[in-house]
Homo-oligomer: 285 residues x 2
């Protein structure tokens, strides 16, 4: 778990709570090694797993989401220190106003969920989202053109969104992150690999599995395949159908560096205590 | 069936095939009344029901539709004289190039299918679609703002798309048609009525039931309700889950003036012969 994201999470955790994860882990370990029983331990020590929360884009993309629901989403994101809230473009302004000055970013979607708008529209949508304060853009590739083997069109489509993102420097001068949704469930393995390559060539930061609006979502096999395709040091976001910590953790272990989920609060609750408190098969910690 | 659409359909039919529907109907009737048997008649006279085809937007909106599939769609639309092809924005140029000089219009979608993009993006998407040659725009309302009771926001969103459409006169100087998708399956009856009123107030031409990407599609009850809400002389498009002629016909009888369907070729095949050739219970025609 010694990834840049985990390090960032530790830093956030220190800043926000005054708790040093590494130190806390050692303390827990020392406590366990001193002979404390499992039950006592469970009751005595439970540090919220902010480190895992930093992997999560807290997501609400259903078309009938109300302003009230979006406000709740932002409140939960602040409390749990999620990486971002991921919402539809019409709620970007509401979220930026709610999250200003916090460690939670605002992520929105472009050409979503079909990926079948024109390239000009995707670039403009990106421009407007950033103008309204978005920090991260999750765009959908042109799936039809990928299927039609017009790879240049697909890559140019990505490049146009990246260019629109680069054109607008954020207030803190950090770069806008662009994630590219390839909708894995509609693609063959060969098409998934090609889509990963086009995503890298197009200048984006992450490749992302799914919209959550198609046949199915992220699978362990796809995350492993995508990690092979993009190599080390490139972002991978797993999304769609991730409803528990066990699934989310597995996808991270296989190479995901970001998780898109609506059940995020449940997931971090399940993450619960830090890993050192889990006993091994022999009952030892 | 003596609606303006039916009259238009007859005129198209005359133009395209040289057949006069009314005259053909009388001829069939006379033929039957002369004593011809049912079997003979079925074999002898079957006029393709172009009149019904004129109600149909021949639709292909799945995100992985290939160029080849879109070309097939246009060919079918020309052969069957559908009102339009309804495709995603990325295929507008392909369709306009294929359908130039025919009686088939090009219809595309905006803010589709979630309706949750910004108003600015919807207006721009409309502008680009018309620039690429689209004749009709099916936009999705901002469902979240409707649910949040921000009706002004919903109406302004519609008005912005209508304004973008009005700003661009088509080559033949006829007006661009704007249809407003309210996604009935996500709304209460009260919200459906409000959405119909906002659609009219916003200056659009049609109210449309469904995207085909949500929980369910057009129902007879909704079409009847929408007809009551918008009154006579306003367009209603029924869409989503319409897979046979019986369903399509029923929706037209209840007030739909346009049908969105992917199974359009099957539907017109089922429509088959014109109604006078169907025997009544006594076996007479």
């Amino acid at each position: 778990m010694n990834t840049p994201h985990y390090q960032a999470a530790q830093s956030v955790l220190r800043k926000v709570t005054g708790i040093d994860v590494k130190k806390a882990e050692s303390e827990v370990k020392a406590y366990v090694e001193s002979g404390a029983g499992r039950v006592e331990l469970k009751n005595a020590v439970c540090i919220p797993n902010f480190a895992f929360a930093q992997y999560i884009d807290h997501t609400l993309l259903k078309p009938d989401a109300t302003r009230e629901e979006v406000i709740k989403l932002c409140t939960e994101a602040k409390e749990n220190h999620f990486a971002s809230v991921c919402i539809n473009p019409n709620y970007v302004r509401l979220c930026t106003s709610m999250l200003r000055g916090t460690d939670v970013k605002v992520c929105t979607v472009v050409g979503f969920p079909l990926g079948a708008t024109s390239t000009k529209s995707k670039a403009y949508e990106t421009q407007v989202a950033l103008e309204y304060g978005a920090d991260e853009i999750d765009m959908v590739i042109n799936i039809g053109e990928l299927k039609s083997k017009n790879y240049d069109v697909v890559e140019d489509d990505i490049r146009a969104v990246v260019a629109a993102a680069d054109a607008r420097q954020r207030a803190d001068r950090s770069a806008v992150i662009v994630k590219v949704i390839i909708e894995t469930c509609l693609l063959t393995d060969e098409e998934k690999i090609i889509a990963c390559v086009l995503t890298k060539n197009g200048g984006a930061d992450f490749v992302k599995t799914s919209t959550g609006f198609s046949k199915s979502g992220a699978t362990p096999e796809d995350i492993a395949l995508m990690r092979k395709a993009v190599g080390a040091g490139f972002g991978i976001k797993a999304s769609g159908g991730i409803r528990d910590y066990a699934t989310a953790k597995k996808l991270v272990e296989l190479g995901a560096t970001r998780i898109g989920a609506s059940a995020s609060v449940k997931i971090v609750k399940e993450a619960g205590c830090l890993s050192p408190v889990t006993p091994d098969a022999s009952g030892k910690y």
